[in-house]
């Protein structure tokens, strides 16, 4: 289950970052990039809390 959650988080981060480079390369429009970033944001926040709180320990 944790592995699946981590994969979803990774996909979220990918959708947050990669579309901007596609805008830069003029492959997609700015509007598509903004929409994909929002999807990436949702994926990150629905998955990351479940595995990050278990693994991260800070002083």
């Amino acid at each position: 289950m944790t592995t699946l959650l981590k994969l979803i988080s990774l996909a979220g981060l990918g959708l947050t970052l990669v579309p901007s480079f596609l805008v830069f390369a003029r492959v997609i429009s700015w509007e598509s990039h903004a929409a994909l970033m929002l999807v990436g944001t949702v994926l990150w926040f629905v998955s990351a809390p479940f595995w990050m709180q278990q693994t991260r320990q800070q002083p």
């Binding site: 981060l13 947050t16 579309p19 901007s20 830069f24 929002l38 800070q58």
Partner: protein
């Protein structure tokens, strides 16, 4: 910039001033035991998360407004951040890993509880203003869909009723969240930090074509001609390499040479973990500042964080500004409440936080707090820095001079006059240097540190020899 680390606390303290202070910090009196020391991964996460915060959305654009040239910015950030990392590694970490005490308990042994009380109050006010600037930053994003008139670079006072209402709403929400459960917000901040950093980078990359960057090879030319042009906005002072370098070095002055990060680094297995602050400096104070500067240029000089983030990342950008600001403002507000509780020991925690929130929100209504963030951050560090120099001198220099360390603890003094005079006389000297020679605020930390160190050594010598004689 970073947010202070807040910790769980006990019931409101009662009794003498010393008792009240001690009760608040009851959980942290002892040195960290060996089984609670942590490895490098914890510090990499902590520093990276702390230094990708709401303030980064403001600092990058302010460098653009101050007319920093591209070469000065890059070199200034590289050198200034390196000096900050060295300050963490060679000044804070060796003392933190030898004493294993937090700033509060170590300073108490040097200053006595009454002087520490004054230090706490000053700290609380600084925290309120810092949290206030974050509320203002969040308001620029919350006001976007409402069509609110954004504050401009030269605005010191509220520019519309809409701004006041939005700041009030955001301030109320931040205060309510700090009362209801700051720890969950702090946890959310840690979860958000990797995503937040990528939003900074993505937003900047997405606006590069608007600035005329067609390929990576175009970047440096566009950076010099359209982003960091070397020409300040009318009425704003010009920044050079030295301004950038000293700002990058001293923007966290309270944390490194001010010694506040003893609280964090006392958990480090080795003093060399101080070098891990480089993750925070070069991710947050290098990449994120460059990214927000690019966004500012693409927004034709707009400096309000909400609109510039929206320009690069759409709704996600606006969400990022709100999350970045709230996750910085909440622990800051909580820490301010903690410090203020020493004045009002019979008040419940929620009531103290409410007062701190009201002060913070009132400050946030003035856009000057956000638009003059560089000055405020420099002042904040400068005011708290002398106590860091006192700790340094007490730990390393007094034994070499044949003087006793932690003299207030040894003599059970409530108030150390050498520490108090070192603090106030250093600030007076810095003011005089500024007024007489015109040395700007950003540079005062360096002479100030040496002045504080020398004063404390000299005054301690007078105090201890007078007692012996």
């Amino acid at each position: 910039m970073s947010s202070p680390q807040a910790r769980a606390v006990t019931e409101p303290p009662r009794g003498s001033l010393a008792d009240r202070l001690d009760a608040i910090n009851e959980f942290d009196r002892e040195p960290v035991p060996p089984d609670r020391l942590q490895g490098p991964g914890s510090f990499i996460g902590l520093y990276t998360g702390e230094h990708v915060a709401g303030t980064e959305f403001v600092i990058g654009p302010l460098f653009v407004a101050h007319g920093v040239a591209a070469r000065d910015l890059l070199l200034g950030l590289l050198v200034g951040n390196l000096l900050a990392v060295l300050s963490w590694a060679f000044i804070v970490a060796p003392i933190a890993t030898r004493t294993r005490l937090n700033l509060y308990w170590h300073l108490r042994k040097i200053t006595g509880p009454n002087l520490l009380f004054a230090y706490n109050i000053v700290n609380a006010l600084m925290f309120c203003f810092l949290a206030g600037s974050m509320i203002a930053v969040a308001a620029t994003a919350v006001g976007l869909p409402l069509g609110m008139a954004m504050p401009k670079l030269h605005d010191w006072y509220p520019n519309s009723v809409g701004w006041v209402l939005v700041v009030f709403l955001v301030g109320a929400a931040v205060t309510a969240l700090a009362i209801l459960g700051f720890e969950k917000i702090a946890a959310a901040g840690k979860i958000a930090s990797p995503w937040m950093f990528l939003v900074f980078v993505a937003a900047a990359v997405a606006v590069l074509p608007r600035l005329g960057v067609e390929s990576i090879g175009d970047f440096w030319r566009v950076a010099q001609e359209r982003i960091w042009t070397g020409v300040p906005v009318a009425g704003i002072s010009k920044f050079t390499f030295w301004h950038v370098m000293f700002f990058a070095w001293f923007c966290n002055m309270a944390m490194h040479i001010g010694m506040a990060d003893m609280t964090v680094l006392r958990y480090a297995k080795r003093w060399q973990y101080g070098f891990l602050s480089a993750f925070g400096m070069y991710v947050g104070h290098f990449v994120a500042w460059l990214a927000s500067g690019i966004l500012c240029a693409a927004a034709l000089g707009e400096v309000a964080p909400g609109p510039i983030a929206y320009l690069g990342a759409g709704v996600t950008g606006a969400i990022t500004v709100v999350i970045a600001s709230w996750t910085t403002a909440n622990p800051t507000l909580y820490r301010a409440g903690l410090a203020l509780q020493t004045i009002t020991p019979n008040w419940k925690r929620w009531k103290v936080t409410l007062v701190a929130g009201a002060v913070t929100t009132a400050a946030a209504i003035f856009p000057a707090l956000m638009m003059r963030l560089l000055d405020f951050v420099a002042l904040y560090g400068l005011i708290l820095m002398p106590m860091g120099a006192v700790i340094f001198a007490d730990f390393w220099l007094l034994p070499k001079l044949g003087l006793r360390q932690r003299y207030a603890e040894w003599k059970t003094l409530l108030f150390s006059w050498p520490a108090a005079l070192s603090w106030t006389m250093t600030l007076a000297a810095c003011w005089a240097i500024n007024a007489i020679w015109g040395l700007e605020l950003f540079f005062l930390g360096l002479p100030g540190w040496f002045i504080a160190t020398l004063l404390y050594c000299g005054l301690s010598s007078i105090q201890q020899r007078a007692r012996v004689s």
